[in-house]
């Protein structure tokens, strides 16, 4: 056994999806059951096509507030009683909203599954949104938004999606002070009525479940009589053509510049997705990526320099994210743009490509290690309209990425010429450096 050379190890094994049972109830509710006995737990997701993209004009944050208020009282349970019943079974119950979906997550010790399903169904179907809770939500969300807006990374993320997606509703994923002011109980009730229907939802149950027949009986007992309804179509998937723009959000006193550079990309179903995923991984998807090695480890400009591909149901984003000290803004952006350009112009070597494929396939398995991780992936696929076999085929799709396709994806989605640049920081210190890249639109941090 040599100590001077790294050990040889067998080839990486691809992910093996555990046995998954899928069915659809008469109400249209899709049900996914996964038997997983390693822990005495059941993990659940009830996901709806009800994300922030369904927020009506001027009511940004409605999906988010609906999710927060779902657990604040039902026809038969006050908020307090709900909280106490959840705690009594050692459970968790929480709803959250994303651009595409509203997801109710729950978990409990395995022998309390019936009670957990009862509480989930009650919340999903019978929430009453008490006026007092709506009023408290408005007050607290307003303060939370102020706290969020005091963070540079929040401002950067908010401005970036706005520039990339407008006028599609993906452009606003957080509420505004004005939209919080307009939030009303009637609006929340209407949103629930429109979106939270069984035929617009998927239920994932994973863990130490009873026999399948018994589990299905428990599910039917709580969800079978839920009435199917007509649900609205998502907003038309019309997106602007990517073009270069530079926006500086002025945050006086910032000791660093928060930078986002990127553009509209694709969904997970698109043929370019896997080549783009590999391109992203090489550019900035890991700590051995080019951005990390160059911008951080070589130049010392940043602590965090990475890139990300975020797929949504109807579109997606590819971007570079970094924060650098004020005096190196210009060389840092130049460095990032140069790496983006290089990936589109030069074919990656076979060693770097093989390493990146291993990385993608390895972390994919690691993400699915826990019941929580697997439940979230399964819910995500259902809500993205993708088959669960996606998990089984992921590894082979990564392995099939050819260097030419990767380069083409990089040339398109990490093209510096059409990338949007958003910077948050102190105008006085940053504007002169930023103007070297073109005309800059300056906005004040609200």
């Amino acid at each position: 056994m040599s100590r001077s050379r790294p050990p040889r190890t067998p080839e990486l094994e691809l992910y093996k999806l555990p046995a998954v049972f899928e069915t659809t109830l008469a109400s249209g509710l899709e049900v996914v059951l996964v038997e997983d006995r390693r822990l005495p737990l059941v993990t659940a997701r009830l996901g709806f096509q009800a994300g922030s993209k369904f927020d009506p004009e001027g009511l940004a944050g409605l999906s988010e507030s609906t999710s927060a208020l779902l657990t604040e009282g039902t026809r038969t349970r006050t908020a307090r009683r709900l909280a106490e019943e959840v705690a009594a079974i050692g459970g968790t119950l929480k709803a959250e909203s994303s651009p595409d979906a509203l997801i109710l997550s729950a978990s409990t010790l395995a022998d309390c599954l019936p009670k957990m399903l009862e509480l989930m169904a009650d919340v999903a179907r019978n929430a009453v949104f008490p006026p007092r809770e709506v009023a408290l939500r408005k007050q607290n969300r307003r303060q939370e938004l102020l706290a969020q807006r005091s963070q540079a990374e929040f401002l950067a993320a908010e401005k970036f999606v706005e520039v990339v997606f407008a006028p599609h509703p993906y452009c606003r994923q957080d509420p505004t002070l004005e939209s919080i002011e307009r939030l009303s109980r009637a609006g929340v009730v209407a949103f629930r009525e429109r979106q939270l229907a069984p035929n617009n939802a998927a239920l994932i149950l994973l863990g130490a479940l009873p026999l399948r027949r018994q589990t299905l009986e428990l599910v039917r007992a709580r969800f079978a009589d839920w009435t199917r309804r007509r649900v609205p179509l998502p907003p038309a998937p019309h997106f602007p053509r990517p073009k270069r723009s530079i926006t500086l959000v002025n945050r006086p006193g910032s000791v660093q510049a928060d930078i986002r550079i990127g553009r509209l990309a694709v969904t997970r179903a698109h043929a370019d997705y896997f080549p783009l995923l590999a391109a992203n991984s090489i550019l900035g998807g890991s700590t051995s990526s080019r951005l990390f090695m160059n911008i951080r480890e070589k130049k010392g400009f940043a602590y965090d320099a990475h890139s990300a591909v975020v797929p949504l149901r109807d579109s997606g984003v590819a971007s570079v994210i970094t924060q650098v000290r004020n005096d190196v803004l210009r060389p840092a952006i130049e460095g990032v743009l140069a790496e983006m350009r290089r990936l589109g112009q030069r074919r990656v070597g076979s060693k770097e490509l093989a390493a990146t494929k291993n990385y993608l396939n390895g972390v994919f398995v690691i993400r699915l290690e826990t019941p929580d991780g697997l439940a979230s992936q399964l819910a995500g696929l259902k809500l993205m309209g993708l088959p669960l076999s996606y998990l089984r085929r992921y590894g082979d799709r990564v392995r099939a990425v050819e260097p030419e396709r990767l380069q083409a994806a990089a040339a398109k989605y990490f093209d510096p010429e059409v990338a949007t640049i958003v910077v948050v920081g102190d105008r006085e210190k940053l504007l002169p450096q930023l103007e070297k890249f073109g005309s800059v639109k300056v906005e004040e941090a609200r």
Binding site: P40, A87, A88, T92, A152, V255, S286, Y359
Partner: protein
């Protein structure tokens, strides 16, 4: 609730003093290597604040057979993820990998425990990276400076406990290559470390690898630890921090905590669950809902750097509360104390205690879902308690805390004269104390 599950533990010590824990679980083909060293920010010397953390960065800058960049590259090219972190009492490193790649992580950890490649260029580079980390995570972020620098200054009197864990720019600038070498030589020895490997592993094979890679790394004479004793707190302390980045007021309320693994430790953790754990807790029901004064809060024994699992005294039980501007911080503190006093006077309701126990029981199972969290718990318990089996046995010790003990914890440990309060005032001007 028959929800018990046992984490298997195989434990041995190499002749150089490296303690090793193996915990096999074959349910998914993933394994974690977790290496924890018994050195953290509390051993730092004056003029070298932030050094333990800067040193953690240097651990990724190359070793004899794995030059700069190799650590990241090898782990990731083998499908793994990695990181390290610096705490008051320890520094830890982990690699999570597909299980048939486990040997790579063991080899890398052993190579850097054997010796680092430190030079001025990579020290300078990491100095810049750490300064940028400070700007990102502290200087540009509301509440962070108050929490990480001001709060320890108010809570502790002993410099080892109260100084900044991230460090000042000035001290970071003072760090030399000789400092790095000395620190490594002193603290990064096998007899000051615990290696925990959890997940899909074969114990005999793993043991063979560990012995081959780590077995002949020489032990070092360890210095005696610094004196961390705090003088007893006899009167309340207060401080005000103006935070030019904050827009919403906040307040930190804290009390000196008990010694780890004593009955008071278990009772105080149970009390914390009753007061702050989940939406049925007293703080949520009475402050967020009832009085509508608090917007969000977080609380822990060891906050902000630790929780009950890695808490080590002297430490604090503390609560951070973001509150509505319509309330003054004194009002918030008064409301917090009223909740504590209610328990101190009247004790707990039976069902409330039952809920707290259920909460604890299921949280534990949830927290130990991944090989990484299991390995970390095993490594930390070996290092801090000399007994990794607490991962299986401590639940009963928490559940055994009686209502009287919990009531007494409220009365004695969270008594008003032991209180420290840091008020965080949103404001442009850096004035006041």
């Amino acid at each position: 609730m028959p929800a018990e599950f046992r984490i298997p533990i195989e434990r041995f010590t190499l002749s150089n003093g490296l303690r090793v824990i193996l915990s096999p679980d074959h349910s998914t083909p993933v394994a974690t290597v977790y290496l924890i060293y018994g050195v953290g920010a509390r051993v730092e010397e004056r003029g070298r604040t932030g050094f333990a953390h800067l040193f953690e960065h240097m651990m990724f800058q190359g070793s004899k057979n794995a030059p700069k960049g190799t650590h990241f590259k090898l782990i990731e090219a083998n499908g793994g993820a990695l990181n390290g972190s610096t705490h008051p009492d320890f520094t830890d490193y982990f690699e999570v990998l597909p299980s048939n790649k486990l040997a790579v992580a063991l080899w890398l950890e052993a190579d850097r425990m054997r010796g680092l490649q430190v030079n001025r260029a990579n020290l300078e580079n990491q100095r810049q990276t750490v300064k940028q980390e400070r700007r990102l995570a502290f200087d540009n972020r509301p509440y962070a400076v108050a929490i990480v620098e001001r709060w320890p200054q108010l809570a502790f009197r002993n410099w080892h406990n109260s100084h900044s864990i991230i460090g000042s720019f000035e001290d970071l600038d003072g760090a030399t290559v000789a400092d790095v070498r000395r620190f490594f030589q002193t603290y990064y020895a096998p007899n000051n470390a615990v290696l925990a490997v959890a997940g899909d592993l074969r114990p005999e094979e793993t043991r063979r690898l560990v012995e081959a890679y780590f077995g002949d790394i020489p032990a070092q004479a360890l210095p005696s630890p610094p004196n961390l004793t705090e003088p007893p707190q006899k009167a309340p302390r207060t401080g005000v921090h103006r935070d030019p980045l904050a827009q919403v007021p906040a307040v930190i309320v804290g009390y000196p905590g008990p010694t780890r693994r004593t009955p008071n430790y278990y009772a105080l953790v149970m009390l914390d669950i009753v007061l702050t754990g989940g939406e049925s807790s007293r703080f949520h029901q009475r402050l967020v809902k009832g009085r509508q004064s608090v917007i969000q809060y977080e609380a822990n024994l060891g906050w902000p750097f630790a929780g009950p699992a890695d808490y080590k005294d002297p430490g604090r039980y503390a609560v951070f509360l973001l509150h509505k501007p319509a309330f003054r911080s004194e009002q918030i503190v008064k409301q917090v104390e009223e909740e504590i006093r209610a328990v101190a006077r009247a004790g707990l309701r039976r069902r409330e205690l039952a809920r707290a126990r259920a909460f604890l029981r299921s949280n534990r199972v949830r927290q130990l879902q991944s090989s990484r969290t299991r390995a970390a718990a095993l490594g930390q318990y070996e290092l801090l308690d000399g007994n990794p089996d607490y991962v299986n046995t401590e639940l009963d010790l928490f559940l055994a805390a009686t209502p009287d003990e919990i009531q007494q914890a409220a009365r004695e440990w969270l008594a008003p004269e032991r209180r420290s309060v840091l008020e965080i005032v949103p404001g442009k001007k850096q004035e006041g104390r």
